[in-house]
Structure formats: C-alpha cells, structure tokens
Amino acid sequence: MNSSPVESFEGAAAIFTFADNPGVVQGIFWAMCAAMVFVVLVSMIHEVRIGKKAARRLRR
C-alpha cells in the first residue's frame, strides 16, 4: 500500500500507540467524553450564576 520501510518491521505496521491494549484505548476515549460532559455541566452552572448576578445588578 505504501513504500514506507517501517512496513517491513514486524509489529510496526500499525503505529497506533495503544493498538494492542484496547482496554487502555477505551479508557482514554471515555475520559475524553467525560471531560466534554464535565465542561458542559460547568458551563450550565456558570450560566445560572451569572444570570442571577446580572439580575442583581439590574435591580440596584
């Protein structure tokens, strides 16, 4: 498929670092998903707080 000399090295065709350890790969994947969910939740809480703060400012 390609002319890279790495292709000829045993076990080096796939250089995906964790290719032989699917448990670690999936763990990292779910950590990424959790990080995104966490950021959205933090954003929601932040928006509630600034909403209250803006309301207080306008009431004064």
């Binding site: 390609n2 002319s3 796939a14 250089i15 290719a19 995104m36 929601m44 909403g51 803006a54 306008l58």
Partner: protein, 488 residues
Amino acid sequence: MNDEVQAAIDAALAGHTTINLEIYYWWCTALMIAIHAGFLAYEMGASRSKHALASGVKNILAFAFMIPTFYAFGWFIYLAGYNFPFGADGGIDLLGSIDVEGDGQGGIPWSHGMGPNLQDQATGIFWAAFTLFACTTASIYSGAVIERIKLSAFIITAVLLGSVVWILGASWGWHPAGWMVVQWGFRDVAAAGVVHTIAGFFALGILIPLGPRIGKYNADGSANDLRGHNMPLTVVGLMLIILGFFGFLGACLIYDPAGQWVNIYGISSNLSAFVFNTLMGMAGGIIGAYLITRDPFWMMSGALGGIFSVASGIDLFYPPLGFLVGMIGGILIPYAAKFIEKMGIDDAVGAVAVHGVCGVWGVMAVGIFCAGYPGAEGIPAISILGQAKGALTLALLGFIPALVIGSILRMFGLLRVRNEVELLGLDEAEIPSQSYPEFARWEEATAGDHDRPRRPAPDRPAPDAPVLRERADRVDPNRIPPVPRRPS
C-alpha cells in the same frame, strides 16, 4: 529488465497516488477552516457590540466540541447508518439496520484506522474532511441564535446537529449505498441538502422554542431591524466563507487512483465542472440579491445562497443555467427572510433563508433540470419526485430533532439566557474581556485614573442600569418566551 522497470514505475506511481490523495484532502481541510474564520467574523459583526465576543466564543467552542464528538460517534454514524432505520426486508429495524459488523467497524473510535497507522492513509483525511463539514453545519446554525442562547445549550444542540443529525442525513443521501440514493436516485453532489437544508431547518427548529431577541418585535407584532455593530466585518466574513467553500466543494470529490475523479456517488466527475458552476452560481446569487435589496449583507448572503443553489447539480448544470439557478436562490433569500420574520421567528442572520431555503431549492433544481440523468449501476435516475422526497426528508431530519431538544432545554430553563443578561449584554455578563474597551462607558468614568481596575468592580452597578431597567419594564412579555426563573 522491462518487468523490473515497469514494477519500479508502478511502485513509484502508487506511492505518489497515495501521497497525492493525502495532500489533496489535507489542504481541502485546511481551506475549510476559512469557513469558520468567516462565520466567526460574520456573526461577531452581525451581533450588537454588547454581544460580539459571546458570539465569537460560541463559534470557537462549536469548532472545539465538534471535532472530538465527530471522532466519538459522527464518523461511525456515517459509515454504519446508511440503511437506518430500514432492515433487510424493508421494514423498520432500528438496531438491525446499523451496519456495526461491516463498514461501521472503521468508524469505531478504538479501531486501528482511527489513529496513526502506516497502513491506512485514507481514514484520517476523510474523517478530517467530514469533521470540517460537521463544523460547518454548526456554524451555519450558530448565527441564527446569537445574542440570547445559553452557551451550554448551544454546545449541546450544535453537537446534536454536527455529530448526529447531519451526518445521519449524509449517510442516507450522500453515500453510495444510502437508502435515499438507492431507493429514490437522490442526487446531492455538493451537499446542498445534507448540509445546508438540514442545518437551516435545524436552526428553525431551535428558533421556535428559543424565541426572538428582546426588542425585535413591537407590541403590535411589527419587527424592528436589530442591526449588527459592524457590517464591514460581516461582509468580509461572508467573503471568507466563500473562500472556505472552495475547500468544502473540493473535498466533495473523491480522488481516484485510476486518474478519474468521482463524486460521492462514485460517478465520474471533475474539478472543472465544479468550478464552472461554483463561480457562476455565486455570481448569480449576488446579482439576484442585489436586484431585490441592494444591501451588501444580502448580496454576500446571496453569493453563498447561489453556491448552495447549484451545489446538488454542481457537476451537471450548463454554467449559464448554474448562473440562473444561483440568481433565483439570491432572489429567494430576502423574501424568505422577510417571511420568516413575519412569522415571528427571529433569525438574526438569515440562516434559515440562506441555507434552508437555498438548500431545498438546490436539491429541487437538480430534479427540475436534470431529471432522467442516469445514476450509478443499479441506482435510479434523477427524478423530480425523488429530489422532492429527499428535500422533505432532510428538512424534517433537521427540524424535528431540533424542535424536540430545544423544547426540552427550554422546559428546564436551559435554552435561553435570562432577560437581564440579554439586556446587559452577554459580553458584560459572561466574557472576561471586552470587544471595544476604548468605547466603553465605564472607561469614561475612569478617565485619568490609571490605577483603577480596567473593568468595573463586580458589585458596582452597571453604568447604564437605569436605562436597562426602564427598557426591561417596557418589554412586551407576550413577545418573549417565558423563561423559567430560578429564585435568586
């Protein structure tokens, strides 16, 4: 000896072909980033100055969330969802219709193709191109909801659009084995339907529960024109989007090692056909909008609308026909925007008109002007009925999920910022910097005193609080969707 030379030539050619494939999509992807630079400028300029940075943050985060979520499930949906929800017998089979064991394997995030792999020089670049398409759908939608949507709500809805809804539509109608293609002969070569129609109608589905901006409508129902603060920035942004669309359209072609480009349906095509109609459609769109409005905002929107109008038949139209199709798109946009405004829907940048309406028109134009054109082997020819059914399917695919998720978020008070935040300005409330600090009123109050903080202390009343209070009292509550208030 001759065999050895031939083998060496073949090997060199194969290597160059593979590398050219990578290079081509790499630069198409890079060029597509101009779309997002353009949308960023466009939406910030179309916002009033008190919301400008918040609009920009929304665009930046859309970009950032779309990439990992498209990695997580978007690419899998495209590869595995082409028959969803129809099973092998043609009946509904929600789970059985997903091709998990076949093509879908390549889209599973922990498969060997979804990371650095010397044996795979295609997955990464195709994934990247599709990811940028996904980011484009989110950018299309984001302009419509500026100045009042909560950032978290925007992220959730943008991910639903970019990494689920549009890519499912692409799997149905922009995939050689998609059921809309196989059953109806649906043709949408440069994604007028699967990108623009879906994104435009998704925006409409969110705008209904989101409601208009404060001040958009008067008590008698008449609309006010809430002009953005920087029209030149908006117009330049639109021009940047056009630049980026050359990358987008280029990535809609598939580089074939045999030397002949094919479109997404595997039918022979080429860049020359694409560029004829891209430019002619764009010119037609500008002229059409100029004819109706003479407004540079709508003229540049017409340029985009013209490109989308020719997109479905971009490799089929005779270029002057592409011009006329684009011109009709440019004419439709201002009327569609006015109609939507009269319906009480506040689309801040005309996204529904530009993308939704021109997307539908683009899909239908192929059915009108190219009916009977043959499809790939075993695929029905283009028909007006097939295109109409396809346009309707894609519009509903965008609209219904948006309406549902928008209504749910609104029910829990998670969709729209509080009225006080909207009146004060999203920038003042949310952003720790200012778009134009030299012009801020508080700057005047602190003139000559350089030791004081550059921003008002958090507990200090806003300089224009009395004005805002008065405006808040004048707001007609019937024109603003009720936003659940939490006790403060």
